[in-house]
Symmetry: D2
Subunit: 158 residues, 4 copies
């Protein structure tokens, strides 16, 4: 049987605080025995894979280019799409639940795509969509810490 998979979305460039959060998030996910799928590149994606590998977690990277060597060194299973940013849709579909770290446009696109297909997104220092929509968004949940983010994500799954 396939294990649960948490998708982690976040930018390829990020400040030190976000990278620290992402690495801690990777450790936290792996310590619960859950796999990670991400975009497989640098920044938040690399930090979360690094954290997960430190705790023996499984890391899957959905790579935008045609070259598996573009994956960061902490990706164990590189999926080579050659689809550029189009690969984000596969990332969202492959994840059982998502955690968004930080707030770039690419991340927003993935959050919206996840909400669109009915998946829960836990947000860590990310977009305040409820302000944009002027209404409550039930499947989008704010978390204060990596530990709380994983708790909320696993609650949404089970």
């Amino acid at each position: 049987m396939a294990s649960d998979i948490i998708g982690v979305i976040g930018a390829s460039r990020a400040d030190d605080e976000l990278l620290r959060l992402a690495e801690e998030l990777g450790q936290e996910i792996a310590s619960r025995g859950v796999a990670i799928v991400c975009g497989g590149m640098t920044g938040v994606m690399e930090a979360v894979c690094k954290g997960a590998r430190a705790k023996g977690g499984l890391t899957i990277g959905i790579i935008p280019s045609d070259d598996k060597n573009d994956a960061n060194q902490y990706v164990q299973v590189p999926i080579v799409t050659g689809m550029g940013v189009g690969r984000n849709v596969i990332l969202v579909k492959t994840a059982d639940v998502l955690i968004a770290v930080g707030g770039e446009y690419g991340t927003l696109s993935e959050i919206a795509h996840a909400l669109n297909i009915g998946k829960t997104v836990v947000a860590l220092r990310s977009w305040n969509l409820e302000r944009a929509a002027e209404k409550s968004i039930p499947n989008l949940i704010d978390a204060k810490s990596p530990k709380e983010a994983v708790d909320l994500a696993l609650d949404a799954l089970h």
Copy 2:
């Protein structure tokens, strides 16, 4: 030479006011001699194609299913992707500039994707992302009417 193409994004279900706006938008785009690319299905997509056809415009639909007959009857060029919502990425890349009508999650995902790859989005009754980001978003412009939306979109192109 390929003509300019305006992408129109909006939900497959919409209220009468949005449908009226979308149809007027289609007429306005076609009357400027510009082609339309959209998701090719119902709701906003059908209304904008209907308006464009009434003025002799070219309508391109990027179809999510494997069946060209799923396209609405006003689509002249159905592109059959079989990619489900993944086809939204192709819609955004194919458009030179985008106009968003209304505010569902699918539309938000496309707005964010367009901003992510540097394209301008003109918004008609859509998401208030500046409130979400608590900052100005230069490539996202609000319009009050279909006519103003097309003016702003063509300004961004040329």
Copy 3:
């Protein structure tokens, strides 16, 4: 209503004889009032679009890159996928029937994909798959000339 669309598949580099055939094929398709979808790039793809445009035909190019300017100059409707060779699947699905010109591996892949989803392929100087399979392949038909290829393709449609 959407018009019929013939897909033309063939290599980006081709000898003069194939290019001449492809250009004549484009003229022949356009003179029947049928649109063309192809990969939008050089070689056979450019020649068939050139022929079609000379007769006022509609030419659709499914572009592998992220840049519509990569399309050859005879493409009227460039669809920008950013999916590399993955765009071939969209080309095959968008075509109602296909004509293969010449015999590179990319062309073979598209022929096989078309047969796999039940579409008819007419072959002009292309792969001899019946020899490979040691059996008859009902939906794969050899043609001796561009004119015969279009006759056979339209027969398969109607």
Copy 4:
């Protein structure tokens, strides 16, 4: 670092002899410590995953639908694409080398796609493309047994 991955391509329906070959192939690949990527569904895909799991191998399935539960029970890492047969391109790109089992059109399409992007394909009871092309095809190698297929595939990698 990512491990080597062998792609196994073959039909969703297959006779008992092919299924037996595919299961033995899965055992052989896993016993060399190499991961498998396949289409994740029934037939050859299920048999090869079953064999690999019996030897503790890693099995990755590139799923055509939107539902990870469509994967066969021996897939450990289901990648959910929602792209239908378009997912075959991702399978081929993700594999370092491919082994084709049997001879349906879908398999032929993947063989041709792999050859097109320069990857080696080892064929077990598959298409005789050299007869079709009337020439030698250097990257397409026939194997007599699952063991020989894996030997040849690993030779091509290293």
